[in-house]
Amino acid sequence: MDLLSFARGPALQWALVIFVLGSLWRLAGILLLRRKPDYTEPRSRATWRGALKLIVTRTWSRREFRASTAFGQSLGYVFHIGLVVVVFGFVPHILFIHSLTGLQWPGLPSSIVYVSGALTVAALVAALVRRLSNPVLRLLSNFDDYFSWLVTVTPVITGLLAVAHLGARYETLLAVHILSVCLLLAWLPFGKLMHVFLVFISRGTTGALFARKGAST
């Protein structure tokens, strides 16, 4: 079996299996935990509204912290939006999702996707530089931080190389790109990348608690 057939076949299948199994494992494990019973009088019963509100309000820092967090947060938005544009806007990716789920939507012009991909890589590299140069961040960073960065940036770089037909024969570039995505899928449930699901759960839980307590969300 050649590398591309392996990447598109068993590698991708197993990566998806691990992704589904791992994600549901962690989600079930977290959601089924006991929460400390709250014996206080609830100030408000609109906890769902509070949950949703906090998800939205936490998209940007509170004014007091903005000065120190703006740069990092902006970098984050650049690569998050960049990834969304690349993953969900590039026609070959849409076709892949279509082959899995049956869903399909119109794609973006490829040049926009390429520029977005380049900006994503730049922002990710800048984020890594910031993590390494800031002494506090450096102290706090662990294997999860660096490895998650690596499995995120590698698909974008290998994807750009593949569309540029740069560095090796196209079928090799495509195979390497698909394998890097397999690695991302397999790692995602077990590291900080799980925030793709957990961010909504954690913000929502906090918002629900705040609403119940009558704190501002």
Partner: protein
């Protein structure tokens, strides 16, 4: 004319009523096809003029005869048919007039006379199990015929994807245990001219090149790089549409009529090495993409099992659905997560209970 020795290539042209100048035209056309520089083109003409026609044995096994049909035109003499003036085709079971034991004996005779020097052309795959019993010609298995013929060959040319990589007999589940020529021939130079079928000029061009200069430069799949060095995608006239992201969504839709890229309709051009986009088919008339259908990838190994002709390259390559597997994974994930949560809850309960107990009196 000296009738004792075999006629040279030029002499056989002349025997057909074609002059030296006709021969030079043939060489010029072939050299142009091979993109040879002028000096090499002249060299080719000189070499061919003086050399005796090499014996060629053409053996057909598990094949559909499409490759031979590509090579020959039964109702119109073409340049490709002139290949038969440059070679002495001692055996081809489709083209020859002779049949039966006499034909087989004539083949053995020709092979013996040119032992070690003849060119063996093979099309079709070769089944291996049961001593090769699934393909038997004239009482001998294809396996046996190939092994015997390859022993005395100067080179083996595997024409068509079936001979080069196994092709359709090799496709899943390969019920006959088909193998390719290179799987079976280890000690002779093997040249793969893959394609289903290969472009006729690619077949004739490679043979003429071999006659003039020996084995050409081959890629990792043993295909001549002069024809298989670039992908269809690299030379496709619809490439600007791919680069812009303009794809036809279904056959005969607006995009298709405007000649947009056929990636979404399953075109395997980006991973297929062949000359279809430049040389085209039927004397340069067209090729699949120009006619509105995506490339099948027919010159690549295992293209029949490549995930489907109409599924794009970016879709997964699994047979049957993946839904079941993911369903099982989902259930397993929830189960493991649930078990982890239950264990955690037990721990939480124990901690809470421990906290409720009053401290030991001092």
């Amino acid at each position: 004319m000296n009738t004792q020795r075999d006629p040279t290539v030029l002499e056989s042209f002349q025997q057909q009523g074609l002059s030296r100048r006709a021969f030079l035209k043939f060489c010029a056309a072939t050299a142009s096809l091979l993109a040879l520089p002028a000096a090499r083109a002249a060299e080719l003409a000189e070499k061919l003029a003086g050399m005796p026609r090499p014996t060629v044995i053409y053996l057909s096994f598990q094949e559909c005869t499409g490759c031979l049909e590509s090579l020959t035109r039964s109702f119109q003499p073409t340049l490709e048919s002139l290949i038969f003036n440059t070679i002495s085709l001692a055996y081809n079971d489709t083209l020859q007039a002779a049949a039966g034991e006499a034909a087989e004996a004539a083949r053995e005779d020709a092979m013996r006379k040119a032992w070690g020097k003849y060119v063996l052309i093979v099309d079709g795959a070769i089944p291996r199990p049961e001593d090769g019993a699934y393909c038997v010609i004239g009482g001998r298995s294809a396996l046996d015929l190939l092994r015997h013929a390859a022993e005395g060959a100067a080179a083996v040319v595997a024409v068509g994807t079936c001979a080069a990589f196994g092709g359709i007999p090799y496709a899943a589940p390969n019920p006959t245990g088909a193998a390719s020529v290179q799987d079976l021939v280890g000690d002779r130079p093997v040249i793969n001219i893959s394609g289903c079928p290969p472009i006729p000029e690619v077949i004739t061009g490679t043979i003429v090149y071999f006659l003039g200069f020996g084995v050409p430069e081959l890629d990792a799949q043993r295909r001549p790089t002069m024809f298989y060095g670039t992908t269809i995608h690299d030379r496709c006239y619809r490439r600007p549409f791919y680069d812009k992201g303009l794809f036809a969504r279904s056959f005969d839709d607006e995009g298709a009529r405007n000649g947009w890229c056929l990636y979404e309709l399953g075109c395997k051009g980006p991973v297929t090495y062949n000359s279809c986009a430049t040389m085209k088919w039927n004397d340069g008339t067209s090729f699949p993409i120009q006619s509105g259908h995506g490339c099948l990838g027919c010159s690549e190994p295992n293209f029949w099992d490549g995930g489907g002709f109409y599924r794009p390259l970016s879709s997964g390559l699994w047979h049957g659905g993946i839904g079941e597997g993911l369903g099982v994974a989902a259930v397993a994930g929830v189960a493991i997560g649930g078990a982890a949560a239950v264990a955690a809850r037990q721990r939480q309960k124990r901690t809470t209970e421990a906290g409720k107990k009053p401290p030991e009196a001092p």
